[in-house]
């Protein structure tokens, strides 16, 4: 327990040092995860019909999380893997990918 508190405290301390832009993205992530969990709860409580709508909604939450994490990694200045990429380019790619995602989701939702 002590160790856990230690970890959490040090994590919170380090996390406060991340830029505000990235913390805003993390809020989006939390929101998307929450929406996904609500849909899973609905599936467990009410049933799986129509299954394609559930899949579309749930997978869109997951995909949105994944894409936002990608964006977060690309605009994080401390990430050495994406040295040459400007944040504008990262955001433009993010919008493009989200466009495709929502097109596919809209088609599959039924």
């Amino acid at each position: 327990m002590d160790a856990l508190n230690d970890i959490l405290r040090s994590f919170r301390g380090e996390y406060n040092k991340t830029p505000v832009k990235i913390q805003v993205l993390d809020c989006f992530l939390v929101y998307a995860v929450f929406t996904g969990l609500v849909q899973v709860a609905h599936l467990l409580l009410v049933g799986s019909f129509p299954f394609n709508s559930f899949l579309a909604g749930f997978l869109s939450c997951v995909a949105f999380c994944v894409l936002t994490v990608c964006l977060r990694m690309q605009i994080d200045p401390s990430n050495a893997d994406f040295k040459g990429m400007s944040p504008e380019r990262a955001f433009a790619d993010y919008v493009l990918c989200n466009g495709l995602l929502h097109l596919v989701i809209w088609n599959f939702m039924g």
């Binding site: 380090e14 579309a56 995909a63 433009a92 993010y94 495709l100 596919v104 989701i105």
Partner: protein, 720 residues
């Protein structure tokens, strides 16, 4: 706003036009690399032309006709598409087959190929070019094989360099295994699916190398095209997780891998579910569970990386221990759930076709229809040599070359090669998936081999090998040492365009001397082995020259072999047969089309025709009559009914056929000319499949003393 943009453009152009220091050097370099790219472009155009023309033999020998059996169904669906439109194709219920059950075509066909031909036809007709649907269908596959060669170039270039790309494109354009399924007239899924496969792999490797979400989007789109085209998409959805896990466990994980893999999996799953023939199998069938597993493991690994990045060391260790224990507990719960779900299904969640790949004995025990198809048998060793020729030698060399240096991209190629070799050993049909892998690996090996020989020939180190030699002869000038660009003497290029293949190899020699100088700089621990010409030890010059000549000779043999195989072995339309008469003339057997024509003109439009399932597609397409069973083989019991009717005495067979409203029975008999694949030869399969469902048909009843033999000396004719 405008002025600042104009200013930016002006300053940029000034930077380009104004010479930098050492002006002569850098402009020369620019010129050389520009000319090299132009030459490379021309080489690629030649390769695409080669790919297209190698597949036209059957059109020249016979006529522009659709081959085999499956393409006729695809042709019929394309006809429906051009008449009724894209939207009606989704809802088409076909009542001309599987009488009286019918077939839901919209939900059971892989529409990618149909859409492709339909779009090409629509575009042509939009520009008032009135090409018939059949011509579009016949020439779709050669066109896409040219695109596939181009894509193989990009893939190998992404993994290694331009020289490897050019060789890989040349190999892919002519490899016989791919020719066999994409010849003009073979209007089947694999014709476009292999192009889509290589495209997906190229875009995946590109995303790993650049880490850009834009390439990931393109990758997801190409995967959609792949899922729409072929059931072999499950190879991709299992290979990419293997690669992802390999990267994680070999310590090669970085954020670019995440960008390449994670969006692709989720987008790919939804796209796969959007195609009706896949539907919910995209999340419920075991084929896809591997991708989800790797998705989870990737997230866990990324999470650990993030925590390591953000926490100080001591706290990280404690957090790691905690996370690992929590993770193991969670994985145990998930594993129990998945195993429980999988065990509940009799096939462990896999579809029948996939299971027959994993367990090669499965099909012969449980699904005799899958076992009876000749394409599903394991290949003999010589079919490897026929189908990929010298790549049998070059691909293992390329496999070794991929290890030094190993990048994420070359690791992917290694895994692709190994898994493709395994699966091609299970089923002959999957040699097709092996072909692009061997082409890329062979391209890498060929590039390095030529690199070694050319460096040995060149007058000094880092002189650019081949090119340095040419320049010495032509200009009498010593090429600059350590130059990392290609010299642009266009005269050697034009003087040797007499034979296209050697011209192409020259270009690749030029292009990869770029890499030669770069390789010199890198110190490799493998130099001691001198495996691929460690840059310090050159071979003696004579050995280099002879070696290069031998290598070119091998490539010449390869091209000869591919042309011969394409002309003689893979250009038979199998609906028209040719043979030589004793006087030396050629006799054409057009019996199939005559039979279908007779049916079309002499029977009532609603008459039902029964035959063995091989001829179902052709009968509906050419004779335009309703059939009982066809090549789709989705209903085993229905086929067993027809098999039982074929195996029963006449009165009982008549009764079975009357119950199915059949008026005509089509039987193929090759006894007059010794045609080997007629219904008499296939009769035992009818008995086996019928006996699989109706126990009163027993195979031993149909075997004589020496088994089931046909007098194969009767009227023997050898077919061209």
């Amino acid at each position: 706003m405008l002025s600042t943009a104009a200013d930016r453009v002006a300053s940029a152009s000034r930077r380009i036009l104004v010479a930098e220091p050492s002006t002569a050097e850098s402009t020369k370099k620019l010129q050389r690399s520009a000319a090299a790219n132009v030459v490379c472009g021309f080489a690629l155009a030649g390769i695409c032309l080669l790919a297209f023309s190698l597949r036209l033999f059957s059109v020249i020998k016979y006529e522009s006709v659709i081959h085999e059996f499956d393409p006729y169904f695809n042709y019929r669906v394309t006809q429906f598409l051009t008449k009724e439109g894209f939207y009606n194709l989704w809802n088409w219920f076909d009542d001309r087959t599987w009488y009286p059950l019918g077939r839901v075509v919209g939900g059971t066909v892989y529409p990618g190929l149909i859409w492709t031909a339909g779009i090409i036809w629509n575009v042509l007709h939009f520009f008032n070019i009135p090409i018939h649907v059949q011509e579009v269908c016949v020439f779709t596959a050669p066109l896409f094989s040219a695109f596939c060669a181009l894509t193989t170039y990009f893939l190998a270039k992404e993994v290694r360099n331009q020289g490897a790309g050019l060789f890989a494109a040349l190999f892919a354009a002519s490899v016989p295994s791919y020719i066999s399924r994409s010849v003009a007239g073979s209007y089947d899924n694999e014709g476009v699916a292999i192009f889509a496969l290589v495209l997906v792999f190229f875009l995946y490797v590109k995303t790993i190398n650049t880490g850009s979400l834009a390439w990931a989007t393109a990758n997801a789109l190409s995967y959609f095209y792949m899922v729409a085209s072929w059931g072999g998409y499950s190879f991709i959805i299992n290979l990419l997780p293997i690669h992802c896990l390999a990267c994680i466990f070999l310590g090669r994980m970085n954020s670019k891998l995440y960008v390449a893999y994670a969006p692709f999996i989720i987008l790919g799953t939804i796209e796969a579910a959007s195609i009706p023939v896949v539907g919910f199998n995209a999340v419920l069938m075991s084929e896809h569970f591997g991708s989800f597993l790797a998705f989870g493991v990737l997230h866990a690994a990324m999470g650990m990386l993030y925590i390591k990045h953000i926490l100080p060391a001591k706290t990280y260790n404690a957090a790691k221990a905690l996370a690992l224990s929590a993770g193991v507990a969670f994985m145990a719960v998930v594993a129990v759930l998945v195993v429980g779900y999988v065990m509940a299904s009799p096939t462990f969640g896999w579809t029948g076709r996939s299971l027959s790949l994993l367990d090669p004995t499965y099909a012969s025990k449980y699904i005799p229809i899958i076992a009876s198809v000749s394409e599903h048998q394991p290949p003999a060793w010589n079919s490897y040599f026929t189908d990929v020729h010298i790549l049998v030698l070059l691909a293992p060399l390329g496999l070794i070359a991929c290890f030094r240096p190993m990048t994420d991209a070359s690791l992917f190629l290694i895994l692709y090669g190994v898994t493709a070799v395994y699966f091609s050993g299970v089923m002959v049909r999957l040699m097709l998936v092996l072909a692009p892998a061997t082409c890329c690996l062979g391209g890498i090996a060929a590039d390095q081999i030529l690199n070694t020989f050319c460096k040995s020939i060149g007058p000094e180190e880092g002189s650019g090998g081949w090119v340095g030699l040419i320049k010495t002869w032509m200009d009498g000038e010593e090429p600059a040492a350590q130059s990392d660009s290609v010299s642009v003497d266009s005269r050697p290029a034009s003087s040797s365009t007499s034979s296209a293949p050697s011209g192409r190899r020259q270009k690749s020699a030029k292009n990869k001397s770029k890499e030669a100088a770069a390789k010199e700089a890198e110190a490799s621990p493998f130099n001691a082995f001198n495996l691929f010409g460690g840059t310090r030890d050159k071979l003696p010059r004579d050995v280099g020259i002879i070696g290069a000549l031998f290598f070119f000779g091998m490539l010449v043999f390869y091209v000869f072999h591919c042309c011969w195989v394409s002309a003689e072995m893979y250009s038979a339309p199998s609906i028209v047969l040719q043979s030589r008469s004793p006087q030396g003339g050629v006799h054409v057997f057009d019996d199939f089309r005559e039979a279908y024509g007779w049916l079309r003109h002499n029977t009532h439009e609603e008459a039902k025709v029964a035959s063995w399932w091989d001829y179902g597609y052709q009968t509906t397409a050419m004779a335009n009559r309703t059939v009982i069973v066809d090549n789709n083989t989705w209903n085993n019991t229905h086929i067993a009914t027809v098999g039982r009717a074929m195996a029963s005495p006449e009165h009982q067979a008549w009764q079975i056929y009357r119950d199915l409203d059949v008026k005509y029975v089509l039987v193929v008999f090759g006894g007059f000319v010794g045609y080997p694949s007629d219904d008499i030869n296939k009769f035992l399969w009818m008995v086996r499949i019928g006996g699989g469902v109706f126990p009163d048909i027993k195979e031993p009843d149909y075997l004589g003393e020496r088994g089931y033999t046909i007098d194969d000396k009767a009227g023997k004719v050898s077919f061209l």
